[in-house]
Amino acid sequence: MREITLLIITISISFLGSSQETNLGEIHGDFNLNLQSYQEDLQIGAQAADEVILNNAYLNINYTRGNFATGFRYESYLNALADYDPEFNGNGIPYRYVTYKIDGLEITAGNYYEQLGYGLIFRSYEEKGLGIDNVMDGLRLKYSPMQGIYLKTFIGKSRTYFTYADGIFRGGDSELNINELFNSESKTRISLGGSFVSRYQERSNLVFKIPQNVSAYSGRLNLNHGRWSYYGEYAYKINDPANVLSASKMNYASGNAFTQNISFSKKGFGIIAEMHRTDNMTFKSDRDKDGKAYLINYIPTLSKPHAYSLLALYPCATQADGEFGVQFDLFYTIKKGSRIGGKYGAKIALNYSRINGLNKGSAFLNDTREHTPMLLSIKGEELYFEDINLSINKKINKKVKGNFIFANQTYNKDFLEGHVPGDYGVLNSTIFVLDFTYKIRGRESIKAELQTLASKQLKDYSNHGGVYENGMEEPAEGDWGMLALEYNSAHWFFGFQNMYNYGNEDVSKRLHYINLTAGFKKGANRFEIGYGKKREGIFCVGGVCKLVPSSNGFSLNISSSF
């Protein structure tokens, strides 16, 4: 791998050196450093790190000259932060590529990120916050023979930590945009797509004849007509049993998923309805390994991603093995100068989502080829997650802007966190958020955020034999409150945040989680230092989650873009 990196850099430099033109190309990139110290705090269960300080850092360099591009990323984990998988270890260049584009053909050698349709059968992407990077290493060709026709094909292996998983992926995608093809300016716009991907992995099971080539297909349709828009995608995966009994899957069921949404919008008003269903649709880069590092497809979660801490305290994650969900969103702007809107108007967003299990369990749970759960089923199914929330965004006067949110969420903690039913039960939380910004002058402002979460158990587990009021052996976390204050100026910022678990059933765990931050930013550089305690919890991006351990210590973040 290092030889290839050397080659890429040599090529780029020789490009620079041999050029007779004044345009020598451009080099740019970005840098990010995260240092964190870990001290023991028995109250919150935070552990000290043997190394005292842990480090995650990376540097991206891209060189482009006309239609030629090359680049690499240097990553450093000495050792990885506590919320990262310890498999991220040491330094290296896990990402390097060369791309060339000519007459509608694009060739990439080395690493590339790729997504087919919505990602139901294949998505290679990076999400640094989660420690996800399943970048491909191999070859990719994209070709557009004429306007409106887009073809893609690739071969490669997918990254896990600092190595590549066993499976070899071969894939292709074609997209046909009717309007582009016929150069039509019609109000109705149609685009069709089809994808295919196949994973080869040698079989090692002597007893069962499991497929060595596992393929998945998907088809999609995007229709737009004036203010209306529709998107639908269906995906199918053949059976993919594991070699080893210890892996989560040792069955011959095939998988399928579909997702669709329809929306209508005009100036000041927008509405969208979405639904999806997935059954046995976990697709991995190694059939015998579990864990998010091996996932090679992406089923978007059907709930609103929340930005405020207490709204995201109990987040939803997609159950690719089997779930059915619906979601509705309404966006509305109350006009300026109207009776309700006042001088500045207001923005309203209403969201509802509900996700439940599949009828009689998914094909995966039933471990059979024959079982087909009912296509649409809501009543009587196990509820995984439900969220109704209303947000109002309003400028109050020249100096003050406010954001108000009300939400009610139901979170099946047992199921979504993989516990035995009855361990934690189902939580119902009611959440309020108030967020005000006061502009002092120029670029100076103060921000105050107040959040409360009141939670209750929806199921009675009194027969569970637990020691707490809720019938469990673990105390319920109960109610939370949070206050955050922030000062911002052109270059400096200071923040204070306190999350207070005042309703914990265990009185000794009614703790304050205080965080202080200070920083400086100018142009494309940003420096931040912090000190504080973090609660053990689940952190999700796009419905993919990781468990973040509780921690106590200092942090330093430096990031730069050039």
Binding site: T5, L6, G29, I61, Y74, G270, K439
Partner: protein, 165 residues
Amino acid sequence: MNNKTFLTFLAIALFTSISFGQTRTLPNHIVKTLDGDNFNIQNIENDGKPIIISFWFMQCKPCLKELNAIAEVYEDWQDETGVKLIAISIDNTRSMSKVAPFVNASGWDYEVYLDPNSDFKRAMGVVTAPHTFLLNGNKEIVWQHRGYNDGDEFELLKKINQLVK
């Protein structure tokens, strides 16, 4: 290759980049329009007037603050400087389909494109959102800014005014 050799190459590469006082332009990248069409970002046009490119996503509070704040003064900015704002949504497929109804409901008059797997974002070296680039009349990047606080839009306006005077 040992680390020393690698670092030497890195140093040469970086040094070369610094020494030729580069102008920075947009990479050759395809993004999606809200209608699902393909669009090469190099084809953005504003008749030789400045262009703002702003990376945002729906869950990002400061991004929405920035785009809402500019929306209030956008008409004036356009009249005075002819500037055009291009908003690049990096929402992944979880919220990508909500972008069009959200943008229309918000009443933004921006050109909006989708970058659902962050390919364009990566090519631009964007680490966090919002990240705002200012392009001059020749579509060269002349200024960039990360994050947003109330009032930052006036700093941006100052830079735009320097370009058009």
